[in-house]
């Protein structure tokens, strides 16, 4: 019996050993550390560089590191890290689809998804190019900024067909597998609050990308392209006064004889708070397996949770910023779309492991069963990776540039910053605030085109 126990334990531990620590520990710890570092204003990139060099979750640490470097106003480093992530999206993930490839599928079932490389969410691909666009703006490299906004828009266009194709593929793939529907029902019951009661954006668009691309093209003097994009953003956010006002300006400029406006403007983009992130949720679900007897087994699944906002709005020269995109809703929309696939994969994994446990007990007795149970317990870990540096929402306001400085105040009237812009230029002031008191300001002056 002891011999059998040792044998089973060896198999279980070697499976964990070869899958790496992430199989047991998950990624929650490293993500928490990153979030703390980001909030404290840390500007060290060694960790990200090493992760990328080791090809260990290049996408996750490329996007997180890129956000940290952007916060530190180190735009070249930020773009370098974003570029590394983009390359993997392009070379690996795009070709994979959201469906795990053969090896990844097996790892997910017999270990868990934490051992596979992070493949990201579709909204993250769109945001990656959007941020790169803003980095190039800050570097005054408008030619490259244009390319990035064009890429972000193309990523957005691809998003819809991507989902249509991959969700269908995933459903087809899972069709032949016997899935415990009662178990699935138990899971959905626990997720009602996350999956419902919010305004989903149609076709997986992110109005911020469309709006900010429009803004870029307007500042670069491409008024008709700006007008088309603002129009598109208006369709996503029909009652939004800021988008409407910017659309009107682009319309006026595209139809006037001179593309230059006699007035100068500053746009203040405000990135508010911390966006939704994934957390592990564990609960028992009923599984009907080899016997007719119901076995309640613990399942670990990711669940998205809301995080705090910073200032509800900013006040710029007496005008309040207006929300142009709710990032939380973008995240929720995609989570909802992907959730059936996540649940199916988790239940298949749980079922497989439970069957192994049953067989181990039958074959190797109590100790075999115990070893398999220990393995199942240890590897019952949800994959909670996501781009945690994203905000809760994006806001915008436009003010006219006069001889007086632009005064930016928080919602309580406390001055955050006072910025002077040369009168004959336009300006983009990009503000990120994760929490009250934590404010990063990026300023770019545009010569009028």
């Amino acid at each position: 019996m002891t011999k059998q126990f040792i044998a089973s334990s060896l198999i279980a531990s070697s499976l964990i050993f070869f899958s790496g620590c992430a199989a047991v520990s998950g990624h929650g710890g490293s993500l928490k550390k990153f979030n703390d570092d980001l909030s404290s204003g840390k500007c060290e990139y060694k960790f990200f560089d090493e992760k990328i060099k080791d090809e260990d979750d290049v996408i996750l640490w490329g996007i997180q590191g890129g956000s940290m470097a952007r916060n530190c106003l180190d735009y070249n480093k930020s773009n370098e890290l974003f570029d590394k992530a983009e390359l993997v999206y392009k070379e690996d993930v795009d070709k994979d689809g959201i469906v795990n490839n053969v090896g990844e599928g097996a790892s997910s079932v017999f270990v868990n998804n934490n051992v596979n490389d992070y493949e990201g969410n579709v909204y993250e691909k769109v945001m990656l190019n959007t941020y790169k666009g803003f980095n190039f703006i800050a570097l005054n490299d408008l030619s490259n900024a244009r390319i990035e906004f064009n890429r972000a828009l193309d990523r957005q266009r691809r998003a819809k067909e991507y989902f249509e194709k991959d969700i269908a593929k995933k459903a087809k793939e899972n069709k032949g597998k016997k899935l415990d529907t009662k178990a699935a029902a138990a899971v959905y019951k626990k997720y009602g609050d996350v999956l419902n009661n919010f305004k989903a954006y149609p076709d997986f668009v992110n109005p911020f990308t469309t709006y900010s691309s429009g803004l870029f093209f307007l500042l670069d003097g491409d008024n008709s392209k700006a007008r088309d994009l603002f129009k598109e953003a208006m369709l996503m956010e029909p009652s939004n006064k800021q988008i409407k006002s910017d659309y009107d300006l682009s319309e006026k400029l595209s139809s006037s004889l001179t593309s230059k406006n006699s007035k100068s403007y500053a746009w203040i983009i405000y990135e508010n708070g911390k966006g939704m992130m994934e957390d592990e949720m564990r609960f028992d679900i009923p599984l009907f397996l080899v016997t007719s007897k119901v076995a309640y087994t613990g399942i670990a699944l990711p669940k998205i949770k809301e995080r705090a906002a910073s200032y509800p709005f900013l006040e710029v020269n007496g005008k309040k910023t207006i929300m142009v995109a709710n990032m939380d809703n973008v995240i929720k929309t995609e989570f909802k779309k992907k959730f059936p696939g996540i649940v199916t994969e988790a239940i298949i994994s749980l079922t497989a492991k439970t069957i192994i446990q049953y067989q181990a007990k039958k074959k190797f007795g109590l100790f075999g069963g115990l070893a398999a149970a220990a393995y199942q317990g240890l590897t019952n870990k949800a994959d909670v990776r996501s781009w945690t540096a994203l905000p809760k929402n994006f806001q915008s306001v436009r003010v006219e540039i006069t001889n007086k400085p632009i005064v930016i105040k928080d919602n309580n009237g406390k001055v955050i910053s006072s910025i002077t812009i040369p009168k004959n230029s336009n300006a983009l002031i990009y503000i990120k605030s994760e929490s009250p008191g934590n404010v990063k300001i990026h300023k770019t002056i545009f010569s009028k085109r």
Partner: protein, 208 residues
């Protein structure tokens, strides 16, 4: 994921692909380009595309007679803004240089490097003028005031991209190379040219 795991996964994937087969999704030219000597290597803009756009533009420009100066002589051309409105990081000089060379070789035009959208291409013209009054230099050899020639025309344009998914599941990408030669005295466009290059290929990943 370590190398060993990646190798195993790679072999399984390779075997799966081998047994399931796959559709031909290597990039192909579309429309009139199907007669091209070589098929494209990528869905992006490559050397062959620049060459085609440049050759067509030059032919059209010289054939159209826009550079035939009444009374003879050569026009002075400045390089205007060429906007790269695509998703590709490309050097637009790859296109413009070919056109400039052809214009010079035609004997009908010269290009100024002293005036350009975004600043002079060669600052030397201005640097040598800073030597005026410098006793170390023979002043008679330094360019005199009023000797720079202002351009007669400006050559600018845009490279645009349109991407879509075709009915057969492939990705279609079209690049529009649009150029305009503007007569600076009158503001009239003396010549305009457009070359369209279309490609069809896999929709698995993006075009850049």
């Amino acid at each position: 994921m370590n190398t060993k795991q990646k190798l195993i996964i790679l072999s399984i994937t390779a075997a799966t692909t081998l047994f399931t087969g796959c559709a031909n999704t290597t990039p192909q030219y579309m429309g009139a380009n199907t007669t091209a000597k070589h098929q494209p290597l990528t869905m992006g803009i490559d050397r062959q595309d620049f060459e085609k756009a440049a050759t067509e533009s030059i032919e059209s420009l010289l054939r159209g007679g826009a550079l035939n100066k009444p009374g003879g002589g050569r026009y002075v051309i400045m390089m205007g803004r060429l906007i790269n409105d695509t998703t590709q990081r490309i050097d637009t000089d790859m296109l413009m240089k070919k056109i400039r060379i052809a214009m010079l070789q035609s004997g009908k035009a010269v290009v100024t490097t002293a005036v350009k959208a975004g600043g002079a291409e060669d600052m030397s013209t201005y640097e040598v003028r800073k030597l005026r009054g410098n006793s170390e230099f023979k002043q008679s050899r330094i360019a005199k005031k009023g000797s720079l020639i202002a351009p007669d025309m400006s050559l600018g344009g845009k490279i645009m991209q349109r991407t879509a998914k075709a009915a057969n599941g492939n990705q279609i990408v079209e690049y529009y190379f649009q150029l305009t030669l503007t007569h600076l005295e009158t503001g009239l466009a003396f010549w305009e040219g457009e070359t369209v290059i279309g490609k069809s290929g896999s929709n698995d990943t993006v075009t850049w």
